[in-house]
Amino acid sequence: MQGSVGFGGAIASSLEGDREGLAGSAKPVDGAASARVATIKNGDVRNGDSRDSEFSNVNLGSVSVVSDEPPSGRKIGAGHSREPSESTYSFLDFYTSNGSPPREDESKREEPVQEEPFLVVSKRGEEPDDARLGSTKAIPKRTESLMSTRTSRNSAERIRSNIESDLKSSSASHLPSVKNTGQLKRTSFLTSDRDRYGFKKTSNHISESKYNAWWKEYSVYVVRRKMKWEKFMNKSGLSGHSSGASFKAPSRFPPKSDDLKRFVRKGIPAEWRGNAWFYFAKGPEKLKENKGKYDRLVEETLNLVNENTEAIEKDLHRTFPDNIYFTNKTSVNQETGLVEESESPLIQSLRRVLYCFSQHNPAIGYCQSMNFIVGLLLIFMEEEKAFWMLVIITERLLPGIHDINLEGVSVHQGVLLTCIKQYLPQVWTVINSTIKDKQNTDILLDLPPLSFCTTSWFMSIFIGVLPIESTLRVWDCLFYEDTKTLFRISLAIFKILEPSLISAAQTAKSRHRHSSRSSIYSNDSDDADMVTAELFQLIQNTPKTLLDANSLMETCFKKYNGFGHVSQDEINNCKKYVANKRQRYHEMIQKRTSAFGSDVDRRALSEEERRRLLAESMGLYADKKVGLRASNWNGRLSGRVKRIQSRLS
């Protein structure tokens, strides 16, 4: 067990070394590339770990090599001689049999020879280049069959159940039979360059030593929380099957309560997450209402080619290039000496879910960032559930965010700015100083450049924004507590950023003033640009360093100066206010455009129009008793409206 993880890491690192090395030298040498890839393959086989052999078997299976084919051309169903196993592979069965999952035997019994239906063949010595694959193939040749889809789904499910058991042993310790493996697993992550989800531990913002120092502490926390969860579940009468040594991942959870909320905020055990998210987001209901729908969609979209699928193809390999399960495997065919690349089963799952969704909801189709959301879901749940989670997220949790005009994104940014103005006035002052031409700018209608920094906070629900463990904790709360979580967490991040934002703005200004003292060119607009640049970098980079999920949650939910009091009603009302205001604005623009032609400056509403707009949107909002006084948003204008009103009366 220990070996397998360490080994997984080793493969990945040598693979990367390979690629980057080649890229750096700028002229790939045939022999060198083949030799290095071949070493990996041998290692694979020798190791015999099911997860790795999963990939290596691909190359051992029969393969049709077409050297004239561009690397994009996917050969389908090559050498398909055997019916794929009918039985669906369930990680739950896997657990109930024995405490320590005999992963190797089990998987072999399940599918004796794993034949990979998809194969990408590159020419000899050519460097496999994931990033490019997507863009070179404008129209992928997809001639998949239902049979190959089933095989692919089974392989993906097997990979996932392996991840699941990794996660399980990383949070196990109290039961004697799991204790050893659990501890081994936890310490093995210290020597691997991968975390327990298969992501690279290090980034430009987190060093390996920093990660390891944190993981040593956090892994103990994880074990402790898991034990408390099990006790809590037992107390709630949802003990699951504690057969053998393992506590089966529950598929039902207790009714909502303050206790449960506290447990969720402290983190759901990683191997339960898939079930818990699905349960809290009301996935089971959705699935029940739509029995068989996903399978039908898979069938319908088998050979679909359109604008959406083209965009999806471009992003599949750019989703989690830093995750071992989302990386294609390369190897050298011993007979032909050609470098071959086989597509990771999880990437195939990702493709199917996104294709199906684009078919299911043509109004959204495919929007970049959905690839990240589905990618993360696929690590924790099987693809049909991941599909329905995406439906729930786009319909219920983040409506409008992925729409064709991304209006929901603008609305959410407006709400976030309103929240910042209300709860972090000092941060607001800093942000406000980046706005040029304040008199003529309504920030809710005309978002400041800094909003582009926080776009991905909502669109990808913090994936790639926060380190993975922190992201997952946000997701725990999101599905249990609804979307106010996203604003609470955003505010917490800005709270953490507050001191550095304030000082950065000051130094940027003074530096700029100082250096431009002798210049006749100094103006406010340059100041704003300078400050924007400094702030943007801080807002962009700081969240990536927030490795310690516990302190982020603490900042968010602490009693004093926390953001736990920001209520869903408040957020909903504010959302309505911003959305209405923007809609009115767009309607006015439209009217002007049709009246005056298209050359009207879009921002220039007349004073009269601005007043009307404000008065109307105030009416919408003033009726509601809410904490956020967004009606005072534009103080200057509301002052004027009041004066007019008093004059009238």
Partner: protein, 205 residues
Amino acid sequence: MSSRKKTILKVIILGDSGVGKTSLMQQFINGKFSNQYKATIGADFLPKDLAIDDKQVTMQIWDTAGQERFQSLGVAFYRGSDCCVLVYDVTNTKSFESISSWKDEFLVQANVKDPDNFPFVVIGNKIDVEENKRLISGKKAQALCAQLGNLPYFETSAKEAVNVEQAFDVVARNALQQEESLEFADDYTDAVNIHVDGDNGSCAC
């Protein structure tokens, strides 16, 4: 020189999804290529200090999301930019055909005062691919650039660091020229729109 103002040059990189905008920016700024870049959501930003002749400048490079729908976010950071880099992928015809609409979109959103003289630089990326995968010839690209107003054109490989430095050198020089002409115009707003030099298109590649 030290007493002089450090000029900020704001540069926007635009182009279809997957043409290599992030890779170009990273190659120029960090001198590295990786195939681990994720799809860009919203916008990314990186600064770089450099000297153009004897002038110290800070280049602010804004990398954008390529999917069309991101345009509707209203692109506030386009405003006040000094140069716009239009990128396409030489192996992708559609990305080439989009170049002129990216240019138009930029001019509308950035509210540029003198669209005819705003500096654009066109980059055809991924020239490291084998000849038979290349779909857009240099000749075809140059014809388009001539038609769009004699825009400087470069063929690059962000992966193998070919021509990236050279392309961004022209970006920086043209941006500097633009910035100086803008400052001049800003200070004398009553004056007729004066352009110190509109000769942007003469750079060879």
